[in-house]
Amino acid sequence: MRRLAVVGTGHAGVQIAASLRENGFDGQITLLGAETHLPYQRPPLSKGKISGIEAAQKIALRGSAYYSDRGIDMVLGERVYEVDLDAGTLLTTRGRVVEFDRLALALGAKVRHLPVPGTDLPGVLYLRDLDDALRLTAHCERATSVVVIGGGFIGLEAAALARTSGLAVTVVEADARLMGRSVAPIVSDAFATLHRERGIDVRLSARVEEVIDRGGHAGGVRLADGVTIDSDFVVVGVGVLPRTGLAKSMGLQIAGGIVVDPHSRTSDARVVAAGDCTVSARDGRYRSLESVHNATLQAKNAAKTLCGIDDPDVEVPWFWSHQGDLKLQMVGDRLDVQETVLRGEPGSGKFVALHLSGGALVGAECVNSPADFAVLKRALNTGAVMDLRLAADSAVPLKDSFSQPDSV
């Protein structure tokens, strides 16, 4: 391979380019992205106020010199709309033609839209990219109230951000609990209580029927039971969908996302893919894993594959969500959790839910317990064995409850 084109300038796209150079690849790298901003970190967008150019620079993944110094050609503000794999060419919306030997797709995900009347009104915000975050911050500075539709990570982070800015905040979640797809019920319940204590009105099992039109602008929501909640604007955070259009047009295997294996290979040997646009087989199903860690890990493995290194990294997945002063960190898989044991008291706002399968630790959710999280992440990656009796006692330092398997 002499020429690589990377489509997408999020965490995964930038990491593929960076890792290729670290691996010693000295051919041509073209990094193409639809956004005009220098590639930036996505997590801070929903976790703190983002306003102005300065904030945008603060969250840049790398400075512009990083790319030029390493001979990474950046093409920003141009969307790739056609790829001819046999010819080894791609075409952008500005008519640029880029030639390549191998292609890396890091297309990311797009927000899921809510299929109810009124969501196309001005004053209905989604939160995915930097421009969305700038809009949210601007709204929080002017408005006094907001309804957030969706009690997942993004919705709750946006809600906490608005509440910290002094707004009256209502979260409307269709499910019976918060973050239901991702955390244990006991953690969901604790977060509902803790957010309510911080002044957020959390409504569960509440389905939105429409966004209220108040003089041509979003003015709140009407729920299925007829209740209306007025607000100055509305934020929708009901999940994301992998971007697959381009991959589909190239004939790649799609199953809700671009199907990749642990080497980040797609169904076509000329194409690798990484990050939120992908799905991979886990527990007999194709699943997406939307996290910075997964994007970075898949990108590093894609770069290895492109360089002919047949040794993919395997790491336990992890994720974090900072919701105001509530810091949630998760590690491991919840797919076959049989038992959950608590360390600490949920009502205190500082506790850990330890997930077990067959008596062994398989994952954990840590609330305002960053030191415990670090210990658990390391233990899961090294296969350390946990003494459950000690681990459940929050008076004992967590690291004292682990031993390496060979020393047992």
């Binding site: 670290e22 970190q41 997590p43 801070p44 976790k47 603060k58 969250i59 993944l61 790398r62 400075g63 010199a65 990083y66 910075v292 860690h293 970075t296 974090w320 900072h322 810091k327 960190q329 960053p370 030191a371 415990d372 999280f373 670090a374 210990v375 390391r378 990656n381």
Partner: protein, 107 residues
């Protein structure tokens, strides 16, 4: 620009030029300092940008805030009095010549 030197566990020193206002962590990432893993990009979520600040600069960098202090309890390498998370060290003019040592392990 100010000069910052990273010294790894084997004693190899690398001196870089960094901009005032960015963090020591992001300056390290820009310059491919491999010992600074920085998994979370400075969000105080991963404890993988651990450094030991040389004693000459202890007063200049000051003390960690409470949340950083708690995260330092989870670093892979031993926490020492000089331990800091480099994502929380915002570079100032007074840090010109700063020397930090990186631990043998971050993960």
């Amino acid at each position: 620009m100010v000069a910052i030197t990273f010294v790894d566990a084997e004693g190899t020193a690398r001196r870089i030029q960094a901009a005032v206002g960015q963090s020591v962590m992001s300056a390290a990432v820009e310059h491919d300092i491999p010992e600074i893993v920085a998994d979370c990009g400075g969000s105080l979520a991963c404890s993988t940008c651990h450094v030991y600040v040389e004693s000459d600069f202890a007063d200049v960098v000051g003390e960690p805030a409470d949340d950083e202090d708690e995260m330092l309890g989870g670093t892979a390498a031993e926490r020492l009095p000089a331990s800091r998370l480099s994502c929380q060290l915002e570079i100032t003019d007074a840090m010109d010549g700063l020397v930090v040592r990186t631990p043998a392990v971050q993960l």
